[in-house]
């Protein structure tokens, strides 16, 4: 039925689309990432809401606008939660879909933005980032780098000419120490911040590796700002770059309440740039005082060593007295030996003399004693001989006497004395019978007193 069907003019069509869409999407909640934010001269805020799929590929996109009248309110509500509509932020918003005929463009008229959604999302992302960093072992990585005792060579990442930059440099300059600062400019907020900070870190590390340009630390500072401004410093990219940085990273990101993930993974986090400067100055002052102390200790020890050496040497100076003492001792010992030698020699002589004298005395006594012992022995024996002999003789004499007496008694003379007589004839024979004589024979009669001569007259 060509030509008979109802035919729209463009405006009629766009108007109808607008009505249908208005009815269909009169009030919807939409979640998306903010991109291409721009505000118009009349105070409206234009941006795109996109949905990203795998590999950040955009799978859905819609233009969005917050009219000036709404934007004032929305901005106030967001600011109350330390937020704003910024590039890259996920927001949940309420509004309706509108088709703008004259431009033939579909757009989402945003009337409200859910402040709590962004907040929760941020926190969620924050937690995910932290968990990821922890899993990768990056949380303590930068902190484990050793900060030089004298952090004089500094890499500085900040927005050149910002208040933070000036505060920091003033802090260093006032100290009078010879800090050397290598500035690497980076936007500290907005869409470029994340990229520029990461690049600055990389550049400074590269610079530090070039000869004679060694840096002691990298200082990352910014002035104060809203919580949303800080979002970059919660990002995984910056945090990982800081964590993996070959140099200690000191942060002074200028907020009092919350700690960003950048702070969390940095070597040391300070509240403000001034605090970073104070810390650095203090470190150098400490080093300087330790140098001074070292110098004093050196001086003192050198003198002590010299004194010790001298004392030791002085102890050895008693060599001479000791040697003299040795000699004296030796001389005394010698003298002692000398006297002893003489004494013993003489003693030996005296002893020998005494022995000889004793022997002599004993000899003098022993000869006569010997004679005395033997003198009487022959005499005694002789006396015994005499005794025995005399006895024998006396005995013999007695026997002889006995015999002699017997003989005497038997002798004829004894018979005659008793009155007997004995008569012999002339021949001298003894006359026992008268017949033995004849008359006239002369006979001799022997009497005791003598003999009588007579003549026989008759027989």
């Amino acid at each position: 039925m060509l030509g008979h069907e109802a035919t729209y003019s463009i405006s009629e069509l766009t108007e109808e689309i607008r009505e249908v869409l208005g009815d269909a999407f009169g009030g919807v909640w939409v979640v998306g990432e903010v991109q291409r934010v721009r505000s118009s001269q009349r105070g409206h805020l234009y941006f795109e809401l996109v949905e990203k799929g795998r590999g950040d590929r955009i799978v859905g996109k819609i233009d969005a606008v917050i009219w000036r009248t709404d934007y004032v309110r929305v901005r106030r509500e967001l600011a109350a939660n330390d937020q704003e509509v910024v590039e890259g932020q996920q927001i949940r918003c309420w509004g309706h879909v509108d088709f703008y005929g004259p431009a033939g463009r579909l757009q989402l008229i945003v009337r409200n933005v859910d402040p709590l959604f962004s907040l929760g999302l941020l926190e969620q992302r924050r937690r995910a980032t932290l968990a990821g960093l922890a899993k990768a072992g990056l949380l303590e990585r930068n902190r484990q780098l050793e900060l030089s005792e004298v952090p004089l060579e500094l890499g500085l990442i900040t927005s050149a000419g910002s208040a933070a930059y000036h505060d920091f440099l003033t802090g260093l300059t006032d100290s009078g120490f010879g800090f050397r600062v290598c500035l690497a400019h980076a936007a500290m907020q907005g869409a470029e911040a994340e990229r520029q900070v990461v690049l600055a870190l990389r550049d400074l590390v590269a610079y530090s590796r070039s000869p004679g340009c060694r840096l002691d630390a990298i200082v990352l500072i910014r002035g104060g700002g809203s919580r949303s401004d800080l979002a970059a410093f919660d990002s995984r990219r910056i945090s990982e770059a800081i964590a993996r940085c070959a140099l200690p990273v000191l942060t002074g990101l200028g907020h009092e309440i919350d700690e960003s993930i950048a702070d969390r993974v940095s070597h040391t986090a300070f509240k403000t740039p001034t605090k970073v400067a104070e810390f650095l100055v203090e470190q150098v002052a400490l080093a300087e005082s330790s140098i001074t102390a070292c110098g004093e200790a050196l001086r003192r020890l050198a003198h002590v060593r010299l004194q010790q050496a001298e004392m030791k040497l002085r102890r050895c100076e008693r060599l001479a007295p000791v040697a003299r003492l040795r000699l004296q001792t030796a001389a005394l010992a010698l003298n002692d030996r000398l006297q002893l030698t003489h004494r013993i020699g003489r003693q030996r002589l005296t002893e020998s003399r005494r022995k000889i004298l004793e022997l002599s005395t004993r000899l003098q006594a022993s000869g006569p004693r010997f004679i005395d012992r033997h003198r009487d022995r022959p005499g005694r024996l002789a006396e015994r001989c005499v005794g025995v002999a005399t006895g024998r003789l006396r005995e013999a004499t007695a026997v002889l006497d006995g015999i002699s007496r017997l003989c005497a008694e038997l002798a004829p003379e004894k018979v005659l004395e008793r009155g007997f007589s004995m008569t012999r004839n002339g021949a001298g024979a003894i006359i026992r019978e008268p017949s033995q004589v004849r008359s006239g024979e002369s006979i001799t009669t022997t009497l005791a007193g003598g003999s009588i001569e007579s003549r026989v007259e008759k027989t």
Binding site: V150, R202, Y207, I291, C294, L298, R305
Partner: protein, 76 residues
């Protein structure tokens, strides 16, 4: 410390210098060196002290901006 060959000949860093200083102090303190060497050690120590002090006390703070490759050469 001071005898290690890999040490830079030019000027040791502050930390290295301080380590050497500490080592010298230790040696002097612990009879580790002879009187003969005392002056030499002290001389070396003085040198190191001067070096360290020089590093800290420079006339003025120095600020340079490094040449930055603002393009993301790694990513791009």
């Amino acid at each position: 410390m001071s005898t290690e060959p890999q040490e830079q000949q030019e000027t040791p860093s502050f930390g290295v210098a301080m380590q050497e200083l500490e080592a010298i102090l230790q040696r002097i303190d612990s009879d580790g060196i002879d009187i003969d060497q005392l002056a030499d050690e002290l001389r070396r120590a003085t040198e190191l002290l001067e070096l360290c002090r020089g590093k800290i006390r420079t006339a003025e703070i120095e600020v340079n901006q490094i040449v930055q490759q603002l393009e993301d050469s790694v990513d791009g």
